[in-house]
């Protein structure tokens, strides 16, 4: 069949599809698309086989590509199963990252403990890690003499702190994960760096005997926050490990697989950090509560996080 005849015969169809693709989403009829998609695939295959000219093949190709993208596009709602994610997907992802979580925990905890011990026994050591302005700011914030945890506890201050915490923590967690792409080095850096800073602050404040203001403040949200940072470190380390030791896969496929496995971890990390920022802004900062109440709630939070983190194993075999 000559090209012109072929075009004459099917032009109406193609123009119909082109027009309906221009319409806004609500007016589109997807059933029409499926039928036309098969038909147009056939037309494209025919014109290629019959070596019709490039312009026609290009036009049909563009049309099939647009239909294809329309048919396989993201359907809102279809993948949103929050309950399933919370009960199954996230714990399973945690379970599958368990070795890397152990590693990330070590990389975070060892520098923190070392720095903490050093700062606790040597009063000048804190200035090797933090600059003097930061040290003074931290001291003021937790000074029991100030009696207000560094700031007046008003409702709008709490919301402000919530915004600040969530912005800062999620950025740190995301950077910690992304650093894994540099063969894990970026992740290690973020974990060690944060470990050193937090360790020194804790050590310094303990040395100054600000124990009753500092620890009740951090114990509650620390459960979600520190765990989430360790999780993001684990996801980053797994990314880096997949490049260094891809096993049976090509390096590229291993990286892609690690990336895909990290997706539920990332959702979960964001979720945990939102909870942490809520606790930190609206609960931890509340100075009117007794220390024992804070420690008890903190303990419950930690137990909850730990229990949840270990709940994924039973889904592995399914």
């Amino acid at each position: 069949m000559k090209q012109q005849l072929f075009e004459q015969r099917h032009r109406k169809n193609w123009e119909l599809v082109e027009q309906s693709l221009e319409k806004p989403d609500s007016a589109k009829k997807s059933i029409l698309f499926v039928e036309h998609y098969m038909l147009l695939c056939q037309h494209l295959a025919l014109s290629k086989q019959r070596m019709y000219d490039t312009a026609l093949i290009e036009r049909l190709n563009k049309l099939v590509l647009r239909l294809y993208r329309e048919l396989y596009r993201y359907r809102s709602g279809s993948r949103l199963n929050f309950y399933g994610f919370l009960v199954r997907d996230f714990p399973l992802a945690i379970y599958r990252h368990r070795h890397f979580i152990g590693l990330a925990l070590l990389v975070f905890l060892v520098p923190a403990l070392l720095a903490g011990t050093w700062v606790y026994f040597d009063e000048n050591a804190v200035y090797s890690v933090l600059n003097s302005t930061d040290v003074r700011a931290v001291e003021q914030m937790y000074d029991p003499a100030a009696r207000k945890l560094g700031r007046e506890s008003e409702a709008d201050t709490d919301v402000f702190m919530f915004g600040l915490y969530i912005q800062n923590n999620i950025s740190v967690a995301f950077r910690c994960f992304a650093g894994g792409l540099l063969a894990g080095i970026g992740t290690l850096f973020v974990l060690i760096f944060n470990g050193l800073i937090m360790g020194s602050i804790a050590g310094h404040l303990t040395r100054l005997d600000f124990v009753d203001t500092f620890y009740p403040f951090v114990v509650g949200h620390g459960s979600f926050e520190l765990t989430a940072i360790v999780f993001s470190g684990a996801a980053g380390l797994k990314l880096g490990y997949s490049i260094l030791n891809p096993g049976q896969f090509s390096r590229l496929d291993a990286l892609r697989l690690a990336g895909r496995n990290a997706i539920p971890m990332l959702y979960g990390i964001v979720f945990m950090l939102v909870i942490a920022a809520f606790i930190e802004a609206f609960w931890s900062s509340n100075t009117s509560l007794a220390i024992n109440v804070k420690y008890s709630v903190g303990a419950i939070c930690w137990l909850l996080v730990l229990f949840y983190s270990f709940s994924g194993k039973r889904f592995e075999s399914q």
Binding site: R50, A55, R59, G163, I166, Q167
Partner: protein, 226 residues
Amino acid sequence: MLDTNYLVEIPGGIELEAQVVGPIPRFLAFSIDFAIRFIVLVIGAIVSIPLGKLGFAFWFIAWLLIEWFYPVLFEVFKRGQTPGKIVLGISVVHDDLTPVTFGTSLIRNLLRTVDFLPFLYLFGLVTMISNSRFQRLGDLAAGTLVISVRESAKPAAIDNITPLACATSLLKNEQSAIVDFLHRSQHLSPPRQEELARILDGITHDKNKTRVDQLQRIGAWYLGVR
């Protein structure tokens, strides 16, 4: 061969072709998006700062959302296109040409942090020009690429050409090359048309100045004009 064609076999039983997009249009699209984000944040600051600490809180949350989720939300809900990409006519897709999902878009945009290193997207640029699909590091990990979705110009009508049967019999691919010439010649300058047509003097057997015409008429014949 060094070109931007990207072929993938789709469930429709055919090979679909797309054009991958290189660093320059992607940089331009990013610049537009960057400008939009910057302006939105500045306006946000002007509006929210007079509201005091509550305003700051909203601004911080807006900053977080815009910094990390602006590209993700647009890519997922606007068929792979942020506003900058819409302007440039490019779109993010999976490497099987299906639109990106939330997860893959999140991965490729979080890993942007590494592409940015050590400064001004140097890692991203080096990775992009060292593979044939122009993927930056984030694209490699997410399995995505950026393709052109711009509409191509439709070939002009060829009604006023009287077809001419070719004296020599030609192979199918030679025939379609002549049809291509017919369509393309409208975008070429007359001297270039002449130059190309001269190569086929052995077919047109035309020693006069009408060899371009001749070739176009043969093309019309092969197209099926009678």
